[in-house]
Symmetry: C2
Subunit: 249 residues, 2 copies
């Protein structure tokens, strides 16, 4: 196993960082790593906002539900789907790009582009001995995030990425069984088989939590999922992204 | 610069592979690398289909617009947004998960999860000396792809990933100017500044193409974008993803 794969397999989210800030050169390395990712038809449909302003970081932490590591870290990035510059290009080159820009296809392209870029930054950071945590919590209120970061139309903030020097290590969290996620030639959707695999996985996840909480937390994966998904979360999202000019047709 | 960052910055899409197939162990390393990526609230909302069947690969190549490297490679993956197992979990645990599963928020989560996973697989592959190419072309006809791979409801194929031993090297393609993609504390959307940056970028991109085609191709980035976006491409996507039970509310 080479060092890169070791880094990748050793990933765990870090939720407590030392006070030390990233240097501008480290930030540049991470952003350039992000930019090196593949991009659909060269579209590069994303932007990255780095937040240094402490007050803005505090506000983002509050939006994310009071996650202190959104404010306290080495650097905080917000990855955004971005077709704003593409709209401008349409104006400059007199092309009717709006129906395309507003399509669900291009919404998907922008999300995938941004996520590929972010994961490059995440892996690059971890290879440098830094820790990372994705922050979906900023999606609690994207109206507020957009105002805070001065985002124009055609830009949708997707998630944050907190990066910094780890102050508290965590453990690698067990993933779904290999055969449950990876199918060959044809999707295997037999319910009995699926249930059996998930029952086994539940035991692994339960042990993981029990071991780490002195037996206090006994949570299964399916139980966690059912609970989370029963909760109707961020149901304003459709309206928000359409309002920003994405995912409309 | 460490080896991981070197791998990341050296990325280029490979469109011609040697005939040699990946071993099952290599495939497993790539899938496990994919699974190690961060996942929103532990949801793991994706599946990966590995295609070995030569006939299916030929059909996928045709769907992708006749891209031969979809059929001829070391291995071909299809990454899918997947909330099928989560729907089943709702049934088993008697939770009303459907409104949540059908939300735009969870559509975004599934796309981002799948893309983070894919990029881990891509970086892992490149660290092993393999080449990769993302294949958005499968989105030309996701009805056909879904049938071919036997995908149930709540599963949307997003893109392919061709992996293999490079037979023809390409060059690293120049990315958008750093300051155009990376903003600090506030999005910089001054049109004059943007135009200036893109004019400079156009010159870099034009030189890149000219050098590689003996002066035959003189294409600017903004010209390419305007042309691509004027073309209304894959406008069936909204209907397709809604039909699969995503992005509905």
């Amino acid at each position: 196993m080479n060092a890169t794969i070791e880094t990748i397999l050793n990933h765990k989210s870090i939720r407590k960082f030392k006070e030390k800030k990233l240097t501008d050169q480290q930030i540049e390395t991470l952003v350039k790593s992000a930019q090196a990712a593949s991009t659909s038809s060269y579209i590069q449909a994303y932007s990255i906002i780095g937040v240094k302003d402490e007050q803005k970081k505090e506000q983002l932490a509050e939006i994310a539900g009071g996650q202190s590591y959104v404010a306290n870290n080495g650097h905080f990035f917000v990855f955004c789907a971005d077709l704003y510059r593409h709209e401008k290009i349409g104006e400059w080159e007199s092309g009717d790009v709006i129906p395309s820009i507003e399509s669900t296809e291009k919404f998907m392209v922008a999300l995938i582009d941004a996520a590929l870029a972010a994961q490059n930054a995440a892996v690059a950071a971890e290879s440098m001995g830094l820790g990372i945590c994705y922050i979906g919590g900023i999606r609690n209120d994207l109206y507020a995030v957009s105002e805070l970061l001065n985002l124009p139309e055609r830009v949708v903030p997707l998630f944050g990425l907190a990066v910094g020097y780890p102050d508290k290590e965590t453990d690698v969290k067990p993933r779904l069984p290999y055969r449950h996620v990876y199918h060959e030639d044809s999707y295997q959707s037999q319910e009995v088989e699926m249930k059996k695999e998930l029952d086994e996985y539940n035991e692994i996840v339960s042990s993981y939590y029990k071991e780490r909480t002195n037996g206090k937390r006994s949570d299964s994966w399916t139980g966690q999922m059912a609970k989370m998904l029963t909760n109707r979360h961020r149901m304003y999202m459709k309206e928000f992204v359409e309002g920003k000019g994405f995912n409309k047709r």
